[in-house]
Structures are given as structure tokens and as C-alpha cells.
């Protein structure tokens, strides 16, 4: 399976990664190199084999419904690139 320039541009968009046009072609080459290499997985017969859901053999642990966290607006804002009145600020989003 191979990707072309349009595929790369589309995936970059999906991943929210600005990809300079000059890098699209080289990226096509790099990705195709990797995809070609992983093609060998198709040699294996996986009929009836379940996907590995977890390497850990135990039940999902559940916690009690108690408030143990939060009240940390200042700590949150301390690392924020842009904050105002304890809100995170971003460029205007149009619905």
C-alpha cells in the first residue's frame, strides 16, 4: 500500500501538523518506505486470532465517587501560554 502527496497532505491536516509543501514529497518517500516494510505482516494468517486488548491480566480497577481533585486553577494557569481570568484563551473559534 502506497501513499501519494494528497494522502500525506490529508493526514497532516488530520494530525494538525503544518507540512511545508517542500516537505511533502520527501515525506511521501519516507512513509512509503515504512509502509512497504510493514507489508510483510500480511504474510501471517491471523484468522481467528483476537487482537491483544491488554497485556495485563486483571479487571479494570474502579474508584469511589469522591471529590479528590480540582481547585487548581492557579496551577493550571501557571503553564498556560495565554490565560485571562482563569480561562484559557485561544484565537476565536467559529462554530
Amino acid at each position: 500500500m502506497t501513499v501519494g502527496k494528497d494522502d500525506v497532505r490529508k493526514i497532516a491536516k488530520l494530525a494538525r501538523l503544518a507540512l511545508d509543501e517542500s516537505r511533502v514529497e520527501p515525506m511521501v518517500g519516507e512513509l512509503n518506505g515504512i509502509f512497504q516494510w510493514v507489508e510483510q505482516l500480511n504474510e501471517v494468517d491471523v484468522a481467528g486470532v483476537p487482537p491483544l486488548t491488554s497485556v495485563v491480566e486483571q479487571r479494570l480497577k474502579m474508584r469511589d465517587d469522591v471529590v479528590t481533585d480540582g481547585d487548581a486553577a492557579n496551577a493550571l494557569m501557571a503553564n498556560a501560554p495565554s490565560g485571562e481570568d482563569h480561562f484559557f484563551v485561544v484565537p476565536k473559534v467559529v462554530e
Partner: protein, 497 residues
């Protein structure tokens, strides 16, 4: 007890004994290491040095020791891979995208170490977001291996992604360090720096507070000078953590206590598929030596087969990028970290912050991961890769019917030159050929120094164990360590620089 000529020559266990016996103070020890770290800047092993904090912690430790309240790791200076969030201390994951992020919380693993009394020397350099096998993808520049080939001034890689931690241990810049291993990132650097590194069973150490790369593969572990040190450090790194849903409810044994139990009667499996095409002769010879050493100490050698071994690397390079593409989506310039200037709208903010903040290898893996999860490709790639993992795990389960541990090479070769393998990503990925199977199956694996190449570079051997049977792994590794008698140390070329 005799003190080594230089305090920085101590092993972790030796320093522990000396400190507990009040033969040396934490302040003396820490001061020596702080200086060693500063003198070793040419290695670029540290992103952030924390000398003031270290001395503060050392002084507090000395008070406790004086009052008889010493904790198990009291006053012992350690280095922490910069993938662990440390409260109040900048954490970068080797990336530009975290900016000057200072975590308001501590990872469980590092908190366990501070609770045991350890001292923090600083945060070690690493491949960006743990993606790499040579520590060349770090935003903060490559780390140089303290080892150089005989009669050569060429800088070599320390392996990756825990390159900084490996270099710090090998260069005697700390007593021991923490690392993380997703596809081999503890074991491979340990093997090419002549140090010991263990990736425990998945779920043994908590992942809470460790910047996530591939959630189903990541695992923290110790990087140390000796097997005893690794046993000691793992005991304190590991814990059952209610804050990590994948942390397993099994109490942590005292690994140090059973370390010298020996390998008499231990069945050691030799998986034939690990004899790869174009296997370098030095690696094959070392492997044979390892087999002989264990046999000589009473182990039973068994031939086993792990038929799906060759599919492990491509499986890994689907699963890990897929999970990473999702784990790294949170780095978007909104709540912390790097934000691109002058973004005209939210999409622009995302796209440019991430393009500016992530390095090339990380971007490549995000794209691969996004692709293999995308509509139409999920079944062919991710789902198929997860099925391969089941088959790989079944291989091990089957093999463990006739053996207790497996002995394999750790790396396909010694440390290589900086810049030597960066042209082709796949060539770099092949460095993990012996290690990724272990992460895919969630099993424990340890690398232990075993010998030197013809031109004086360290090589290691790997032992793979059963789930939660790190104790057996340590015993077997100890046996190799005794037989190998590896005492070589790198010449401190960086001091001359």
C-alpha cells in the same frame, strides 16, 4: 569497608551501605556528583541540572541519617530521565513543544524514589518523546557515549531513547538513573554503554506522571552499574498505583534478597529466530559465551522457537506510532508548552505550534500513526498488528513451557557513530530487533554487560523472563555478570575537552 578512590566510583548498593554506615555523608557524595555532572557537559547527558535542589535534599538526608531515620535510598544521588514529570522542575521529554513546562505534580515512580530518600541531580537528555535509538532526535542536541572506540576520537551514540541516563551511569555522573523502555529504550542504551538496564513487566511500575509515548508498551525501569543496583532501584521504583489503571495488583518483592541464589537447574531457552540474517560474528560469539557461562553455573540450555519474531519490528512500528499519534494530540499550544506566534485561527494555532514544536522523527511517527488508525486502514494495519501481538505473546507462552528465561543478544552491534544511521528511518529502527518483542508481549527483559568488541566497545546480552518474574531475571543476570567479569570503564575523554 574501603571507600573507592573517587566517591563517584561507588555503585548504588555500595554507596547505600556506606551512607547507612555513616562512612560518607550524602552531602559529600552529592557534591562529588554535582561536580562530575558539571564537568561532563560535553556529553550533553543532562537537559536540566538541579545542583541546588540536590544539595538541599542531601543536607536533609544527612539530618535523617544522624537521627537514625534513614530510608532505604537515603541521600543517594540519582539522575531522572526527562520523560518523568518532576514537580517544580522543568520537564521537556526531549522536545521543544513542552516549552518551559514545569509540572505541578510528580510522577509516581520518581515520588517513590524521593519517599525512599534519594537525591535528584537533574533531568537527563533523551530522544524526543522517547522516539529513537540513538538520542539523536532530542531538541537539546545529541548525547555522546562516554565510550569511544580504541584510538578514535569519533563521537558515538549512547543508544536511545534513554541515552542521557545511560551516559550518566556509564560516565559515573550519578549512582544510577531512571529510564523508560517502549521498544528497547532502556536495554539497548544499557548494552552499548556497558551498563545494566531492566525493563520490568508491563504494569510493574506506574506510568502516572510519565509523559506517554505508546501507552500499552511504555514501562519505567532502572539503569545502573551493577545487577544488584538494578534490583535495589527497581524495588523502590515499582509500586501498585491506584492512579494508573494498568498498574498490576501484585506486591513488589525484595529483588535484592534473592539475587545470589544462582542458576542451578534454571532452564535457559535459546530462541533460534534471534539468529538473524547477517548476524555480526562478534554478537554470535558473545551469545555463545553467555550460553557457556550459564551452563557452567548449572543452568540447563534448551532450544526454543519464537516463530513470529521477525514480525515484531513491523508490528511495533504500527502499534507504537498509532498510540503515540493519539497521546501526542494534547500538545496543541492551548494549555501549556510552545504556542506558535500570531496564529490567525485555532487550526493555524494547532498546525504551526505542532510543526514548530515537534522534531522530524516525532512528526513522521505521528503521521504513520494517524494513517494506520484512519478510516479504511484500521483493520489492515492496527487491528492486524494487535493480532500479531497475540501471536507473539503465544510464542513466549509456548516457549516458557520448556524454559524459565531466554538468553538473546541485546543489540545487533556496538555503539555507532553520531549521524551514521540517520538517513534511513528503517535502518535506525532495526536497532531494536532484539528488544521490541519483549514490549509487545509485556514481559520483563534485562540487558547486562558481557564483553567488549575488538576495538573496545561494550556489548551486552539480554535475558527475557516470565511476567512478574523479575527475580529470576536478576538471578540469571547476576550469573552472567559474575562470569563476564566486566570491569572496563570508559576513559573520561570529556574532561580533556
Amino acid at each position: 569497608m574501603t571507600l573507592p578512590s573517587k566517591l563517584t566510583d561507588f555503585s548504588l548498593a555500595e554507596a547505600r551501605d556506606a551512607v547507612q554506615a555513616k562512612k560518607v555523608s550524602s552531602k559529600e557524595l552529592t557534591t562529588a556528583f554535582v561536580k562530575a555532572v558539571a564537568d561532563a557537559r560535553p556529553l550533553n547527558a543532562f537537559v536540566t541540572e538541579t545542583p541546588e535542589k540536590a544539595l538541599e535534599m542531601a543536607v536533609a538526608s544527612d539530618v535523617r541519617i544522624a537521627h537514625g531515620n534513614a530510608r532505604p535510598l537515603e541521600g543517594l544521588p540519582l539522575a531522572i530521565k526527562d520523560l518523568f514529570c518532576t514537580k517544580g522542575v522543568k520537564t521537556t521529554a526531549g522536545s521543544k513543544i513542552l516549552g518551559n513546562f514545569v509540572p505541578p505534580y510528580e510522577s509516581t515512580v520518581s515520588q517513590n524514589l524521593w519517599d525512599a530518600g534519594a537525591v535528584m541531580l537533574g533531568k537527563t537528555n533523551m530522544d524526543e518523546f522517547a522516539m529513537g535509538s540513538s538520542n539523536e532526535t532530542s531538541h537539546f542536541g545529541p548525547v555522546f557515549n562516554p565510550w569511544r572506540a580504541r584510538n578514535s576520537n569519533a563521537n558515538l551514540v549512547p543508544g536511545g531513547s534513554s541515552g542521557g541516563s545511560a551516559a550518566a551511569v556509564a560516565g559515573n555522573l550519578c549512582l544510577a538513573a531512571t529510564g523508560t523502555d517502549t521498544g528497547g529504550s532502556i536495554r539497548q542504551p544499557a548494552a552499548v554503554t556497558g551498563t545494566v538496564g531492566i525493563k520490568p513487566t508491563y504494569g510493574r511500575c506506574s506510568r502516572f506522571g510519565i509523559v506517554a509515548f505508546a501507552s500499552s508498551l511504555d514501562q519505567a525501569g532502572p539503569m545502573t552499574r551493577t545487577v544488584r543496583d538494578a534490583a535495589l532501584l527497581l524495588k523502590h521504583m515499582a509500586s501498585v498505583d491506584p492512579k494508573d489503571s494498568t498498574s498490576v495488583d501484585i506486591p513488589v518483592p525484595d529483588y535484592e534478597a534473592t539475587l545470589e541464589d544462582g542458576v542451578k537447574g534454571l532452564r535457559v531457552g535459546i530462541p533460534k529466530e534471534y539468529r538473524i540474517d547477517n548476524m555480526p560474528p562478534e554478537i554470535e560469539q558473545l551469545w555463545q559465551k553467555g550460553i557457556e557461562w550459564l551452563k557452567a553455573q548449572g543452568a540447563q540450555i534448551v532450544d526454543v522457537s519464537l516463530p513470529h519474531t521477525k514480525y515484531a519490528l513491523p508490528t511495533y512500528y504500527i502499534v507504537a506510532p498509532a498510540e503515540a499519534s493519539s497521546n501526542l494530540a494534547r500538545y496543541d499550544g492551548v494549555r501549556y508548552g510552545h504556542r506558535a506566534a500570531g496564529a490567525k485561527d485555532i487550526v493555524d494555532l494547532y498546525e504551526r505550534s505542532r510543526a514548530e514544536g515537534f522534531g522530524k522523527e516525532v512528526q513522521r511517527r505521528i503521521l504513520i500513526g494517524t494513517y494506520v488508525l484512519s478510516s479504511g486502514y484500521y483493520d489492515a494495519y492496527y487491528s492486524r498488528a494487535q493480532k500479531l501481538r497475540t501471536l507473539i505473546l503465544r510464542d513466549f507462552t509456548e516457549a516458557y513451557k520448556t524454559c524459565d528465561v531466554l538468553l538473546t543478544p541485546a543489540t545487533p552491534g556496538p555503539a555507532f557513530g553520531v549521524g551514521e544511521k540517520t538517513a534511513d528511518p528503517v535502518e535506525m529502527y532495526l536497532n531494536d530487533v532484539f528488544t521490541v518483542t519483549v514490549n509487545l508481549a509485556g514481559l520483563p527483559g534485562i540487558a547486562v554487560p558481557a564483553g567488549l568488541t575488538a576495538n573496545g566497545l561494550p556489548l551486552g546480552l539480554q535475558l527475557i523472563g516470565k511476567a512478574f518474574d523479575e527475580a529470576t531475571l536478576f538471578k540469571a543476570a547476576r550469573a552472567i555478570e559474575i562470569a563476564a567479569g566486566f570491569t572496563a570503564k570508559p576513559t573520561e575523554w570529556w574532561r580533556a575537552a
